[in-house]
């Protein structure tokens, strides 16, 4: 470094790794953010928004006794960009795809069968399916429980402190595990309720996510980094940089993608080494996200101040342009893909309805949910499990 010009040349020679890829990803994000700032200007005047929400809710309530009001619902959902086919149901005559739906409400978790039959499992919370849908894990007042789908308790593990987010692992050689949080700690218990042990003494309040096909677990550590651990060997496979608070983690079915949802962004990592595939800065509060079964497509539930929307994004390029599947006034609160990936469930809380939509735009609405379930589902993630179940 003889002089300033030598230093300048040397600095210019230093290229950040993957500079071309970084530029491509950044441009996709910047362009999306730029394009998405336009629709905000065209939104209805502030004074009209409460009326639009009220119209949607009133239309659905009225539909219980007056099915012709379907036209009003069509109006409410008709602002989406594509032509829709809307079917309205007053009750759960059937689910639009095979599998059983598990939703959590203030009264407890419900299982809804394909024919529309439903069962309340009891006074539990935060229920989720076992890998083949043979059991459900949930939380009682002070215990982790394993239940059969008819509500029978298989085992219960009493633990002091605040319990949260029990999640059942895939099955490996006939054995399974359940990860859960106790206070700020991450713990594991075998699928038969034995061998309860500590995994990490510092975990953030985010549901852990099992990688398909094994005992590898992703969770958010106390320092705000995602950690991916092989729980069979207790070795860390990789960790991320420190992130804004992560509200959700989810793996793609093939285990090659891990999504992390934060308040306003969606980040996708490579599943093997944790390289960052991309990041999407979202135009509104992110409520939930889920990979479509068997693909890298991601559905993202967004909540604007007066509206909610479901977007589809590419998990291989999450910052690229998104596609709006459905949007309407009011609040959506629950998201789940059908096991065959053909239907999406969005819980439309302010309209007391379940909105089933396909990526191509077919829509089916089931209303009067709070009366049927005793309360509207209050957890963003629902489980729609297992076509053979």
């Amino acid at each position: 470094m003889a002089d300033a010009s030598d230093l300048r040349r040397a600095l210019r020679r230093i290229q950040p790794p993957d500079a071309i890829g970084a530029e491509r990803r950044a441009w996709a994000v910047v362009r999306t953010a730029f394009e998405e700032r336009e629709p905000a200007r065209r939104r209805p005047p502030q004074a009209l928004r409460p009326l639009l929400i009220a119209a949607g809710a009133v239309a659905l309530i009225a539909a219980v006794v007056n099915p012709p009001v379907l036209n009003a619902i069509r109006d409410a959902v008709g602002r989406t960009k594509e032509k829709k086919v809307v079917t309205y149901k007053q009750a759960f005559f059937s689910l639009p795809a095979p599998g059983r739906l598990l939703v959590n409400t203030a009264r407890g978790p419900w299982i809804i069968r394909p024919d529309g039959g439903r069962r309340l499992l009891g006074r539990y919370r935060d229920a989720s399916w076992s890998p083949r849908g043979l059991f459900v894990t949930a939380l009682g007042s002070h215990d982790v429980v394993a239940l059969e789908p008819n509500g029978t308790v298989r085992w219960s593990l009493a633990r002091a402190g605040k319990l949260s987010f029990p999640r059942w692992s895939p099955e490996v050689d006939g054995s399974t595990k359940i990860a859960y949080l106790r206070g700020d700690t991450l713990r594991l218990v075998a699928g038969d309720g034995t061998q309860d042990r500590l995994v990490d003494a510092a975990a953030a309040p985010t549901a852990p996510a099992w990688k398909p096909g094994g005992f590898t677990l992703a969770y958010v550590g106390g320092a705000g980094r995602i950690r991916v651990v092989d729980t069979a060997t207790n070795k860390l496979s990789w960790h991320s940089l420190r992130l804004p608070p992560v509200t959700e983690l989810a793996w793609s079915d093939d285990g090659t993608r891990l999504l992390a949802l934060t308040h306003r962004s969606l980040i996708v990592f490579g599943g093997l080494r944790g390289q960052r595939i991309g990041r999407a800065f979202l135009p509104a509060e992110a409520v939930a996200a889920a990979f479509a079964p068997g693909s890298h497509r991601i559905a993202v539930l967004l909540r604007f101040p007066q509206q909610s929307a479901v977007q589809l994004r590419d998990g291989d390029a999450p910052g690229a342009a998104s596609r709006m599947v459905f949007n309407a006034d009011g609040r959506f609160g629950t998201l789940a893909w059908s096991p065959n990936g053909t239907w999406l469930l969005a819980g439309w809380k302010s309209a007391d309805a379940f909105m089933f939509v396909t990526p191509k735009g077919r829509q089916r609405i089931v209303g009067d949910i709070a009366r049927q379930l005793g309360a509207f589902p209050d957890v963003p993630q629902a489980g729609w499990c297992c076509p053979t179940g």
Partner: protein, 179 residues
């Protein structure tokens, strides 16, 4: 940057009117230097990408309020370099707090093995504040007075950091072999 000024003002005007091609022209013009500057200050590829990307997003959010009579580059570089300094300080703080044993056992793919070029290594020996002034002066070619404005520092502090930073880099660089 003077040669770009006419085109740049027109790109800003176009972007303010909603033109994607004009926004892209601005992005393509400024991304490489913004990204490289962030990388040289933070020395972390993922963080540099984030910082440069978020700086552009911040610029877009404020685009309608941007004064077209001013050049775009310094506005962007102010955001990039200040965020890069903040990120580096935060990382240093986290390192002091320490991670747990599990994390220390991990081999992080995010550590940039490529950061071994002698100049880069010499730069890495500096504090983020010193790296920032070196990058602003010798990569982005701002004058000490302009750097003082960008970083909200007294000009004397900028000159002092430049001098000490360069001295330290010379100490870190290997002796040149004329043979």
């Amino acid at each position: 940057m003077a040669r770009l000024w006419g085109g740049e003002a027109s790109w800003v005007r176009g972007a303010q009117a909603g033109s994607v091609p004009d926004l892209e022209a601005l992005f393509r013009e400024h991304w490489p230097r913004a990204h490289r500057a962030a990388y040289l200050v933070v020395q972390d590829a993922a963080a540099a990408e984030d910082i440069a990307q978020e700086a552009f997003l911040a610029a877009i959010r404020a685009l309608d309020r941007f004064d077209r009579r001013r050049p775009f580059g310094p506005w962007l570089h102010r955001i990039v370099v200040n965020r890069a300094i903040d990120w580096s300080r935060a990382r240093a703080l986290r390192a002091e707090v320490g991670g747990d044993a599990l994390e220390e056992r991990a081999s992080s793919p995010l550590v940039d093995a490529a950061y071994s070029e002698p100049t880069a290594a010499a730069l890495a020996a500096l504090s983020p504040e010193h790296r920032a002034v070196i990058v602003l002066r010798h990569l982005l070619e701002y004058t000490p007075g302009e750097i003082a404005d960008l970083l909200d520092l007294p000009r004397g502090t900028v000159n002092s950091r430049l001098r000490r930073g360069l001295d330290r880099m010379r100490e870190e660089l290997p002796e040149e072999d004329d043979g």
